[in-house]
Every structure is written in structure tokens, then in C-alpha cells.
Amino acid sequence: MSGTYLGMPAFPRAARAAVADTQLRRNLEHATGTIRGRRAEVVAELDDWAELRAAGAAIKDHTLRHLDRYLVQLEEAITAAGGTVHWARDAAEANRIITDLVRETGETEVVKVKSMATQEIGLNDALAEAGIMAWETDLAELIVQLDRDRPSHILVPAIHRNRAEIREIFRRAMADVPADLSDDATALAEAARRHLRRKFLAARVAVSGVNFAVAETGTLVVLESEGNGRMCLTMPDTLISVVGIEKLVPTWADLEVFLQLLPRSSTAERMNPYTSTWTGVHPGDGPQALHVVLVDNGRTGVLADRVGRQALRCIRCSACLNVCPVYERVGGHAYGSVYPGPIGAILTPQLRGTAGPLEASLPYASTLCGACYEVCPVAIDIPEVLVHLRAKAVDAKRRRVLPTAERAAMAAAAWTLGGPRRLGMAQRAAARARRLVGRLRWPLTGWAESRDVPTPAPESFRAWWRRTRGRTE
């Protein structure tokens, strides 16, 4: 069968290469298997996990419901505490604002603490064009940056690399690497510490993301492990924090929910080693200039979708990636976005639209097994959104005069299933020709390549019932 998948969508093609990468498969199996088990343990410690999860989802829904009001409140609070708030409609505007802010300081280097938002908007490239070098300081980000690679996981962007590969990357690309560097994780961490320490001590400007922004107080919150976050938030004179507009929570007390949900879902710890909060500028302590850039970049479009907007609850814990059986086989690169895995499959098409083949293929990159929904700390029903996005894609194509082969097959199936007589006829025809499967169901090339095809039964159940019971209800 040809035609149905003309212009094979990007995800299946990228996935085909990924599943053949044996090293990648073993690395991912090991890493996701480890974190899955540990997450399950620390989540089981809290007998009120379901209640925390319900509260987390409800707080986020409430915030999104009144997002305009809370953003204005956040702006006022930050301004009152000595910070400056900027608004960006899209990536280009955000990059322009940040580049100008760095230029005003006269610096040509910035240190960065891992931030999904800055990756999403492509900040590093924009800064590079302006002659500004951005140093990633998170260990996994550093590995990816040194290797000129792309991130493949929300929390651990170098999850696709094992320790031996990381050692090779360091030896190849790290200027001051010790000659006898081993592939012991502690030694690799030590090498990163030495490499970045001078940068931290000399840094004048830092760029950060945030995990939460508290509307009531203007407080910004970063959770991290290594201390690179604390370095970036504390050592420089100027701090530029890039905040997606969905990062808000209404009150300081609301953090009590998320500071329990996030670490356990994310790094599978009761609490991550370091959490920093800051509110505007603190005289005599830390940066004396704070800029907060609020970024839309497609989020308001997501907000407009009644079913899809729940994706904006996401707190980027990455639990859904770690349990996803598809992610475990293909890794993050196949998703073609900084947001891979289940959350990427629902967020990327919504943020970017589904005009491109990659974006259009993402809602289908799931078996709908439901493991992601089960672990999501803010109860995003990812399978529901996936199916919703599939329906939107199908409906958008209905306007075409010529139906796609898939739509024709679906229509034929619906017709056949439209009544017992039609179905019975099709079953008998298939039993004779042994061809029902080929007609009724999907084009089967992809199936038959590696799996035997079941044979339609010579006598259907309904025919057997009629023959043996004589009558039907």
C-alpha cells in the first residue's frame, strides 16, 4: 500500500533510526529504569499524594483561569521590589529584549542556569549573533553544549549519553580537562566544577529560567541540584529571568503543594539539594539589577483550546518522559523540540501549529497506554489531549475535496460497521477471500514487515451464533 503515508511524517522516520541505535537504547533503558523505580518509592512515601496532585492541578487551573489578573499582580509586585518587568509576544521579541539588556551592561559573556524557556526561544543562538557568548552551567547542558548536540530530555538533557561517552566529550571539547580524567561520575562532576568555577567568579550577567513565579509577592523560584543555579542567581550584578507566562502560582502558600510534587516527580528526591527564592533586588546580597521577561510565544494559543489548555499546567518535572515506553525506545531527539516525550507530543503541536510534518506526526507518537497521565503530578490527561489533537488534525483535513487514503479507509470501515448486515457480508467475503483485514483495517505493510498477520476466521462469531442458536436477540 502506498499513498497513505506519502511524505512519511517526521516522527516515525526519526524513530526508525533511533530504535536501531543500540547504545541509545541501552542508555535510555538504564537511566529511565533507574529514575522510575526511585520516583515510585518517594511518591509512595506520601499517603496524600492523590490530594496533593488534585490541589496542584486545581491551583494551576485557577491561575490559568485568571492569568491576566495574576500577571498584572506579579508585575506590580516585582516592580515594587526593585525589579523590571518586560513582556514578549514571541521568541524574536524575547531574544531582542534580552540581547539589548546584555548589551547595556557592556558584557560579552553570560552564565546560564538551565531554562526550558530560553531553549524554546533559541536564546543562545540569538546572543551569539550579537557577539555574546552564553555559557551553560548545568552539567547536562554543558555536556550537550560542548558536544554541539541537542538536548533530549527536560531535566537531564544529556540522558542519551552514558559516562564513557561523557568522558570522551569532555576530553575532546573541554579546554582545561585533566589528562587522566576517568569515566567515574564523581570525577566527571569534579571536572565540570573546575571548568565552570572561574566563569562563576567572574560572571557579571546571568540568565535564568524559573520554576515558579508567585503573583502575590513577586517571588521567583528555582529548583536545582548542583549549585550552578545558586551561582548564577547570586554572583553576577545583573540577573535576567525568563518566565513563560504559565509559570505563575497565585500565593506564596501555594508553593507548599509544588515543593512537594516537583522534587519527587522530577529527580525522585524528597527535596532537591537547592531551592532558591528571590523577590526583586536584595540590597547587599546578590544581583542589584533584576529583569524579568514574561514570554507568551504561543502559550495564549494553547490557552484558547478547551481541551488542550491543560498542557499549560505542566511543571516540567519530566516524570512523563521517564515512564513513557515510546520515549524509552527513541529518546528525545525524535520529537524535534526542546519538549520531548509525552508532554512534547501535546505541547509542540499546540505551540507551533501542525502545518509541518513533524508537528503533525507528534499526536500519533503514542500508544495511549496512559502511563504518563498516571505519574503526572498535575494530572494532565495527556492521552485525552493526544486524541483531541488527532481529531483536530482530521477535521482540518475534511475541508479538502479529495479525502486522504486514511480518511477513505476510516469511512469505509465506518460504513461496514454501520449495520450487522454489512458487517456480516464483509466477514463472509473476507472468509472466502481471506482479505478482510486488508480491506477493513489499515494498510498493513508496516505490520507485516515484522509480525504475522492474523487470518480472518472462516466463520465469524455472529455466523456461528446464528447457526448454533438459530436466532439472535
Binding site: T34, A140, S225, W252, A253, T275, T279, G284, L303
Partner: protein, 209 residues
């Protein structure tokens, strides 16, 4: 003039048009616990902090100077302004370095010292100490750049869980929540201690006299 601010806010209002403008809001269900434990909090704190490789020592108020004295014999004690004088009783001035006036980052990096601070609150459930960087706790940089951080935690500072801790803290202050020494799980999602923050975290837990 159409500013980005107005446009983003306008888009949000348009996006929410399907919801009644000032419709009744569903209550946020807050049926979760305020605390997961109500007794044995100090022991739980010690156990949980140790779980993440903090070195935990128990002591009595009278013996705290002796503990710090012992630490000062190995390394200089770097102290922020406002540390209670009674903590440092008997320690020779030569073994003390005061962060006032503020030391430069280069000095903080070069010095071979133990930073001694107090804290604002400690969380039993998670083994966390929280610094609000007020008197006796130092600027944020102080407990970050040197490699060894010793935190004095008084038993009455230990609360059961995260909700109670946040209620005690003032968000207008800069806050640092510390749970064990700096660590990373970035290599094969396996945790190893010791990256950019202090590689040694020592907690001296002072029980009620």
C-alpha cells in the same frame, strides 16, 4: 499604542472567552496533609538529612562551642555578622574570619575555611535547612562559594513539613533551601554528590537544654 503587554493580556482574555467572565470559581481542594509526621521530628530531620549525605552531629547548647572549637582546629571558621557570640566562646580570634566588611568572591573561593551559619527553619520530612540570610546566616554567596558549610540548627527550628516551613518564612527575604551537599543526577540519572555548591554539608543539631 499597542504594547506587547497589552497584546499578551488581550490574547489571554480572548483565549478565556469560553469561560464566564466572572463565573464562580471552583475551590482548590486542599485535602492534603499539613504534616506527614507529628512526633519524633528532630530525629526524623537528622535521619532524612543524613539520607542525602549531610553529616549530622547532635549536641547540647552548652557543648556547641566545643563542637565549633574542634572544627576550628582543622580549618578557619568563616562567620557572618550576627552569629551569637556564645557559639564562638573560647575560639582564638586567629581561627576566625568575619565576613564583614564583605569578602570578595576570589577570597571566598581561595580560603580554606568552614562557613558557620545558623538557619531560619528546618524541615523534618525532607531533611532540609532553610536560610533566610538574615543575621547570623550571611549573604547568599557566603554559604555557597567555600567548600564546607556547617549549619547550626536548634531543635525548636525543626518543623514537620513543607507547609509549616513556608508559613514561617518571609518571602520578601532571599531564601535558600538546602537538602544535602550539592549533587547531580545528570550522569545516567544516578546521584553523585559534589558539584558547584559546598561538597561538605555539616549539620549541628542542638537539642533543647
Amino acid at each position: 499604542m499597542i504594547t506587547a503587554r497589552n497584546e499578551v493580556l488581550g490574547r489571554i482574555r480572548a483565549a478565556l472567552a469560553d469561560l464566564p467572565a466572572d463565573g464562580a470559581d471552583s475551590e482548590v481542594p486542599r485535602k492534603y496533609r499539613r504534616a506527614h509526621h507529628d512526633t519524633g521530628l528532630v530525629d526524623l530531620f537528622a535521619e532524612r538529612a543524613a539520607d542525602y549525605r549531610a553529616v549530622v552531629r547532635h549536641t547540647l547548647p552548652d557543648e556547641l562551642p566545643a563542637v565549633l572549637h574542634a572544627a576550628a582546629r582543622v580549618r578557619t571558621l568563616l562567620v557572618p555578622p550576627g552569629v551569637p557570640e556564645k557559639w564562638l566562646r573560647g575560639i582564638e580570634p586567629g581561627r576566625l574570619l568575619l565576613d564583614g566588611p564583605a569578602l570578595t568572591p576570589a577570597v571566598l573561593d581561595a580560603v580554606d575555611a568552614v562557613v558557620v551559619t545558623g538557619c531560619a527553619v528546618a524541615i523534618a520530612e525532607t531533611g532540609t535547612v532553610v536560610l533566610d540570610h538574615g543575621p547570623g546566616q550571611g549573604r547568599r554567596m557566603l554559604s555557597l562559594v567555600p567548600d564546607h558549610h556547617l549549619v547550626v540548627v536548634c531543635a525548636d527550628q525543626v518543623v514537620a513539613d513543607v507547609p509549616e516551613a513556608l508559613a514561617r518564612l518571609d518571602p520578601r527575604r532571599p531564601l535558600t533551601f538546602v537538602s544535602g551537599p550539592s549533587a547531580t543526577s545528570d550522569i545516567e540519572l544516578t546521584r553523585v554528590e559534589g558539584v558547584h555548591g559546598p561538597r561538605d554539608l555539616e549539620i549541628v543539631l542542638v537539642s533543647h537544654g
